[in-house]
């Protein structure tokens, strides 16, 4: 699964810590998702979509 998390975060000028706080997850989680080492669960994917005010498919793409 590919994602645009890093790009979207950069567009909003958010640090990893800021995103971590908005999502209420650990920095490790944000980093693992951004680097594609971990695919989030559906509930977390929805939370990410809500934070960026986008649809899930606009953030995540199947490889």
């Amino acid at each position: 699964m590919k994602n645009r998390l890093k790009v979207l975060r950069a567009e909003r000028n958010w640090s990893q810590q800021e995103l971590e706080e908005r999502l209420n997850v650990s920095r490790q989680s944000v980093n693992a998702i951004e680097t594609g080492r971990y695919d989030p669960s559906l509930p977390l994917a929805f939370r990410i979509a809500n934070v960026f005010e986008l649809r899930i498919e606009e953030i995540f793409k199947a490889e």
Binding site: V25, S26, R27, Q28, S29, A32, I33, S41
Partner: protein, 221 residues
Amino acid sequence: MESMLYIYKNFVKYACHMKNTEPTPPHRFPKLTLVAAVSSIVSAMGILILNHSDAINDTTTYILMSISIGLMILSMVVAWSSKLQKCLAAHRYLMRIAALMSFYMVTLLATEFWVEDSGLSGWPAFVITALPGLSFAGIFWVFCMLILEEQDEFIRLLYVRQGLIGTGIALTLAAVWGFLENYGLVQHVAAFWWPVLWCFGIGIGALMNQLKYGIKHGGTT
């Protein structure tokens, strides 16, 4: 004894440091507390070995064991005051492990005193001797609770992976050693070492998580 004093001094420094700093960030273990807790167990075992080899007498043994248990209780107090409010699962894990290690040491001491030295027999001896082993049931329960209570799904995945690696290592080595022992190729190893090996396996699991995900638990990448 020097190592215990060193740990105690570090504890004091750590406790003072905690009072003057902001709450610990999420997913950051007070590592020194864990190190001290494990060190006190190792010290207690060392003291028992020294006693068995007649290097120290029973009175000295009990005094040193009391210091060791005291350090364990101190670690619990420090952990309690460390304000890991944002990392409840890890905080609870630490507290439970510290309590279990204390239980383990007290029951081990009781077994040494009543069964080994005082010659207690029958069902009371059976019950007392079983108690140190039963603390391992608690260790597994604590690890399960850590997984269940952790709110962060990625960290939870790391814990599960760690547990599976630890279980795989311990059970595989137990099976291999069992066969080797059965055919007289190696010496007998007491069964209580296998759950101890599981605990080491958990540590190896953490290392493998770090290698695979490049993540040091408790730190940032």
